[in-house]
Subunit: 150 residues, 3 copies
Amino acid sequence: MKWNEVQTEGSGGRTFVVVADQGDEAFAMLSDFAREQGLSGAQITAVGAFTDATVGWYDRERQEYRRNEVDEQCEVLSLVGDVALSDGEPQVHVHAVLGLSDGTVRGGHLLSGHVWPTLEVIVRETPVALRKTSRPDVGLALIDLDRTTT
Amino acid sequence: MKWNEVQTEGSGGRTFVVVADQGDEAFAMLSDFAREQGLSGAQITAVGAFTDATVGWYDRERQEYRRNEVDEQCEVLSLVGDVALSDGEPQVHVHAVLGLSDGTVRGGHLLSGHVWPTLEVIVRETPVALRKTSRPDVGLALIDLDRTTT
Amino acid sequence: MKWNEVQTEGSGGRTFVVVADQGDEAFAMLSDFAREQGLSGAQITAVGAFTDATVGWYDRERQEYRRNEVDEQCEVLSLVGDVALSDGEPQVHVHAVLGLSDGTVRGGHLLSGHVWPTLEVIVRETPVALRKTSRPDVGLALIDLDRTTT
């Protein structure tokens, strides 16, 4: 067991409040936002609701996401994740927990979700840039703290 | 697709740690706290446990929350949301994910939840005041970033 | 209903980004991290995936956690909680929400979870030290804000 860590003391970084419009596709919206703001590292937290969503479960054998469709109005109970640079571009990585009409819950890696009536997002920059390295053994690019820069 | 955003750099804002007493009703407690501290914008995150809770799913047709009762001791796996001003008063908006005794999960918009043995809450002020505008088309007041002030 | 609260204005505190290695056991890793960094109060948020996990539901009668096993690859949809001092040592308290291959969800108090392929963790120090007091009536040590110090 080991870890890497980066730290700064009280360095700040920007905090954004982002509110989606009705009909926005959340993943695309967050990705566009990250690109336009030039985010190189950030934490994302959100609540709201979707009319429908597609969430993924990563299939280790196939090296791709299995797509689970949630084809009904659902509360976004949490949307948690981060932004890191992959090949120089900000990549959004968020996981969604969705509450259905009977109080049961679905969730996964957010592939897409259409907002209604709102999605209230807090984006906090991390004090350092986060970078991903492609990992052919996994089939994904993962955050690589050896490549972190302030 | 579009968005609004507000930002400040390292402006701070207060961070509170709030711990509920046994038997406290969490939504009322958070609402009282927001009012007494005069919060005009904040992010809420919590974990703990409830003896029982009522969570909502917003019914778009009826323009009201369907109430789902969780009448058993449950772990509060996450309580995520925010505080914004609605008609000048702080309004708490949090979504709950609840873990039952067999590891299955329920959740929704938090209407009420009774704490036992604890609820550990972090409240972080946003650098700007958040304001809601009543939306008769939706049946709710939603955060309106055009009305945001620093 | 009542509460205690602690606050500081813009005091900062360190923010850490921690990325687990494949095969790390997440609870032990976070506990080691907290000890090595001398954390006396912090908020933890993470996403990633586990190959397997054990989550707990606190049984009030038995005063112990019922163990629910999740013996399959699962997305860590959220891992939320905190660090506080218990008998002078940092104690990690995190709750996990786990997404299965079909999009259904399990969760509870994190007892253990093995990471694959990654776990991306943000740790933010609270502006004050948090201390727990043993509560024989509950069978657990709980955060006691009367013992908080800056």
